[in-house]
């Protein structure tokens, strides 16, 4: 049980950080597809008798590369959808050849509180650290190319390389999170809390911190509830994430409504033809504040 808490905490941190960029780039679909590929890897690993973490990692990276290279030529969403089903179909084939019972498959897909043994703790921590390091190194170009890809290109940041690098980070994050949250619901954790966080604050740094905090609350609550009810952890992760998103949107809508009136009033004032704005130089003088 202690292992579960440690791993869950690491999972939440990674999902919160990586999820921030998933939401920023609008990569919800790849974030959903890659874990499904990883699921096939875990099933394959069981079949050939190697560590499931290895299978998860290898297949997650393979799906990332598949999505990246197919998407480079054609439509992104089509490429993602087809890479997703191809990997899942492999998973189905592997499963049909194994003698494992349904509960194992179920926990791979939907998560398992006690799914991590002490020996697996170290590799999971290593993967997590690698993820955080990669995000830290890529931070600025990733941010720039996610927000304004054209300007990034003009500054020599290659969007296609950034995309592949990001998908690989996503794959690493996936490999470590599948055993806890399950292949089908990681992406939920990667979009619910970050989406809520960005509705709450306009600062990128604060949004990442808040996203991690919300992911932690989600995972901890999900584990506690799952432990109490014995229901699958994925159910709670999915539901709490959706709840967080809903709250974020509600908060945002309320705030926008609140701010709309004064903002639009100043706008019409400044641009109404009846009151010509003073020349720019003067206005700047008036507005300049000591720094």
């Amino acid at each position: 049980m202690q292992n579960a808490w440690i791993v869950a905490t690491m999972v939440a941190v990674i999902a919160g950080v990586v999820g921030f960029f998933v939401v920023l780039r609008g990569s919800a679909f790849p974030a959903h597809a890659i874990p499904n590929g990883a699921f096939a890897g875990a099933a394959g690993a069981v079949l050939v008798g190697v560590s499931s973490l290895l299978g998860l990692g290898v297949f997650a990276v393979l799906s990332a590369l598949g999505i990246g290279s197919l998407g480079r030529r054609g439509r992104h969403d089509v490429a993602t959808a087809l890479a997703l089903v191809a990997m899942l179909a492999c998973g189905a084939a592997f499963l049909s050849r194994t003698t494992e019972y349904a509960p194992e498959i179920f926990s791979l897909l939907f998560g398992e509180v006690l799914g991590v043994s002490t020996t697996e703790l170290l590799p999971v921590a290593g993967l997590g650290a690698a993820c955080l390091l990669a995000v830290a190194v890529l931070y600025r170009p990733l941010l720039l190319s996610s927000v304004m890809p054209e300007i990034a290109e003009a500054k020599g940041v290659r969007s296609d390389r950034i995309e592949i690098a990001f998908l690989i980070v996503l794959a690493l994050a996936t490999a470590m999170t599948v055993p806890v949250v399950g292949a089908l619901l990681i992406f939920s954790l990667m979009i619910g809390p970050p989406a809520a966080a960005r509705a709450l604050t306009p600062r990128p740094g604060a949004a990442i911190a808040l996203s991690v905090a919300l992911a932690l609350i989600t995972v901890w609550a999900a584990i506690a509830l799952s432990y109490q009810t014995n229901w699958p952890i994925g159910f709670f992760v999915g539901t709490i994430s959706a709840l967080a998103y809903g709250l974020g949107r509600g908060w945002n809508a309320a705030r926008t409504h609140h701010h709309q009136l004064p903002h639009s009033a100043t706008f019409t004032d400044a641009s109404s033809p009846g009151s010509p704005a003073p020349p720019l130089g003067q206005r700047r003088q008036k507005r300049r504040r000591p720094i």
């Binding site: 679909f29 993602t80 087809l82 619901l185 229901w231 699958p232």
Partner: protein, 305 residues
């Protein structure tokens, strides 16, 4: 011939049912899927397949025909996504993802309750990966009914749907009720997804929905031809998949074959890969020869004809 088709293939009643259900699912999915690809809603389509899994797993719990569960799940999710209605593309993906996550969460709960409360073994695999060889009794008439309904919606709305898929503004300017057409399309999509969930399983039905249409749109830029091509390709892939799955039982010493959904998806994926590689090469050639290679659907104004 014997090496290709194992004995007993054509005699088996199970196979007959599988071929009929598979063809119906492939046909409907391909026709609806052409619009899904043109509209760039692969993610939305996929989300519906997972939502239909929720319905399917719920149906086992309630003890009704899974197909009804698939339909209810998909239609509900389609309604939810249409209701959230975010305009910004990234925001739309996000909303889709949230609905998807919540419905998978619910599916996990239903499946858990299926296996514990009602002791239905193999529910997970049946719902997620399909059961084309063993449909519940009385499924074929329901399949025919829902399939016909979905096709009827698409054919009736063919022209306004194409117009709204290419440009919502253009369609609105021509007086097309864009929102209403979108809703009807989502309904057709939900029905198609439910059918293919039955055939190859909920989480793989995306393959039938996206694969053949994307492949067909690689080959032709005309929506009408793409429709026919996708339907033909979808049915062919499904039948080849069924055949291979039937054969595969003889490949292994234990007599257990590989799942039919694996073969169907593998054939579809292969077809897409081949068309992707060949069109890529053709595009490069034609660009060099003086024409710019246009992408399918999304950017080609000629698709409007």
């Amino acid at each position: 011939m014997g090496w290709l088709i194992e004995p007993g293939f054509f005699a088996s009643a199970q196979v007959h049912t599988a071929l009929v259900i598979g063809a119906a699912a492939a046909l409907v999915s391909a026709v609806v899927g052409v619009f899904t690809v043109i509209r760039g809603q692969s993610f939305g389509g996929h989300a519906l397949t997972d939502a239909s899994a929720t319905g399917g797993s719920g149906s086992l719990l309630a003890g009704v025909n899974p197909l009804l569960g698939f339909v209810v799940g998909a239609v509900t999710a389609a309604g939810a996504m249409e209701a959230i209605g975010v305009r910004h593309a990234r925001g739309r993906d996000l909303a889709t993802g949230i609905v998807l996550g919540a419905s998978i969460g619910l599916a996990s709960l239903f499946l858990y309750l299926d296996t514990t409360a009602t002791a239905t073994t193999g529910a997970t695999q049946q719902i997620l990966f399909g059961s084309i060889f063993a449909p519940a009794p009385g499924t074929v008439p329901i399949v025919a009914g829902f399939g016909a309904a979905s096709l009827a919606i698409i054919l009736a709305l063919y022209r306004p749907l194409l117009l709204t898929s290419i440009s919502g503004d253009l369609a609105a300017a021509r007086g097309v009720p864009v929102r209403l057409v979108g809703l009807a399309y989502m309904l057709a999509l939900a029905l198609a997804v439910a059918l293919s969930s039955l055939a190859i399983g909920a989480i793989l039905s995306t393959a039938l929905l996206i694969g053949p249409p994307a492949t067909a749109l690689h080959a032709t830029r005309r929506a009408g031809r793409a429709l026919i091509g996708a339907a033909g390709l979808g049915i062919a892939c499904t039948w080849i998949g069924v055949l291979l799955a039937y054969d595969s039982a003889h490949w292994f010493s234990d007599g257990n074959g590989l799942p039919v959904s694996f073969f169907i998806v593998a054939v579809i994926f292969l077809a897409y890969l081949i068309s992707d590689l060949t069109t890529h090469r053709a595009t490069r050639r034609s660009t060099a020869a003086g024409r710019t290679g246009a992408l399918v659907g999304d950017r080609d104004p000629r698709a409007a004809r």
